[in-house]
């Protein structure tokens, strides 16, 4: 299968600061990739480069296009919800549909209507009368009605309450995603997407810190809960992170045989959030 995105030596500088420092990654079709990193890590810069919204150094191929030089072509093949997604406040819902129908050849009004019918939004409403959650629903209805192979979501559920957030991913998984489509998502709410992801990329200071399929993550990383008297033995096996939990110590290992570890205590599957903290901080007492 051809990759949807291939980046080789991708770099981006702002003056002295390297927002992206020579990064390589590949994204295959039919994947849901989480791009996770602290503020200022380079996530949004990477997404912008991918969407042709910024110049960059290195090689970047998005579905056969150079995003910066062939942006107009590329825009027919990708969709994007920005963290600062804004619609004009005076716009009516029906006008938003008219507009996208007019500018995007891949847009299906019928699909958009289908998604809108599941919400409380009416066609006559102006954007300024919609709640924040409804604006996101409108965005999503429009974006999912555009038949493209790559959907980029930058903090799509920021500021939404838990019901809207759950519903957002339920709709994406139930009505949109299939093995021909690819989704790249960034979020700080890692715990709500961790089971959705097929691949995980951690980025920090413009560099990739981790890039694995979730299957590999499950193979490679394991947490071990150890009683105080066995801590030295656990430490000797080379944990990448450790912390105190309920009077016991929790060690996180990378690439250490589970068999060997299980003799010292209880094994657990680390959450993406815990893995993230470990990878960002390194070994800390």
């Amino acid at each position: 299968m051809n990759a949807i995105v291939t980046a080789r030596g991708l770099s981006k500088r702002f003056g002295e600061t390297k927002a992206l420092d020579n990064i390589d990654f590949t994204i295959a079709p039919g994947r849901i990739v989480g791009l996770i990193g602290p503020n200022g890590a380079g996530k949004t810069t990477a997404l912008k480069a991918l969407l042709g919204l910024t110049r960059f150094e290195g090689d970047l191929d998005v579905m056969g296009y150079d995003p910066y030089r062939q942006r107009a072509e590329l825009m027919k093949k990708v969709c994007f919800i920005a963290d600062v997604a804004i619609l004009p406040r005076w716009l009516r819902v029906s006008q938003a549909l008219d507009f996208v129908e007019g500018v995007h050849p891949q847009f299906s009004r019928e699909r958009a209507e289908f998604f809108l019918a599941k919400t409380q939004i009416s066609h006559k409403q102006r954007v300024r009368t919609l709640s924040k959650g409804m604006v996101t629903q409108l965005h999503l209805a429009i974006v999912m009605a555009i038949d493209v192979r790559l959907l980029v979501l930058d903090e799509p559920t920021l500021g939404l309450d838990i019901l809207f957030r759950k519903q957002f991913y339920e709709t994406v998984l139930g009505d949109y995603f299939d093995d021909q489509r690819t989704i790249i998502v960034t979020t700080h709410q890692v715990e709500e997407i961790e089971n959705i992801l097929t691949d995980l990329i951690f980025i920090n200071d413009g560099r990739i810190v981790l890039n694995e399929s979730m299957d590999n993550v499950a193979e490679k990383y394991v947490e071990l809960l150890v009683a105080p008297d066995r801590c030295d033995a656990a430490r000797a096996l080379g944990a990448i992170h450790e912390r105190e939990i309920l009077g016991k110590r929790l060690f996180l290992y990378e690439g250490v045989a589970k068999q060997q570890l299980s003799e010292l205590g209880e094994l657990h599957r680390p959450s993406v959030a815990d893995l993230f903290v470990a990878k960002m901080q390194g070994v800390a007492a």
Binding site: I32, Y169, E170, T171, L173, N195, L197, E223, H268
Partner: protein
């Protein structure tokens, strides 16, 4: 239960999720929530409801196919195989008799309980 909206499926972190999904379906077959020949909810439906990536769901279903409990019908989805519940019950019974029953017997003997007392109790509860 799988077919109902379940906001918190309570995955534990000691087993992979696909494995826990497999166990959920097995329980449903044993409890006859899913009967022989019944369709399993689609991968898409489970993925959306439980907020799981579809590959995880497929992996869980594949386990059931490999165990001969579920069959894939082209273009129609997954179905509980004829005799799946019987086979599961047989396994569960064997497991009980081999693993749990000896422990129960040992406990009965430790407590000095008589067979007669136990039967009386059993009949009393069934009435």
């Amino acid at each position: 239960m799988l077919l109902e909206i379940d906001l918190d499926p309570n995955w534990n972190d000691s087993q992979p999720i696909y494995r826990q999904l497999r166990d959920k379906v097995v329980t449903m077959i044993l409890e006859e929530v899913l009967k022989d020949g019944d369709a399993l909810p689609s991968v898409r439906q489970v993925a959306a409801e439980y907020q799981l990536n579809p590959l995880t769901v497929m992996k869980g279903y594949q386990e059931l196919v490999d165990e001969d409990l579920v069959e894939k019908k082209r273009g129609r989805g997954m179905f509980v195989k004829e005799g799946a519940q019987t086979a599961l019950l047989r396994d569960e019974r064997r497991r009980f008799l081999d693993d749990e029953w000896p422990q129960v017997i040992a406990r009965i003997q430790r407590l000095g309980l008589k067979v007669g007392e136990l039967l009386k109790k059993l009949n009393g509860e069934e009435r």
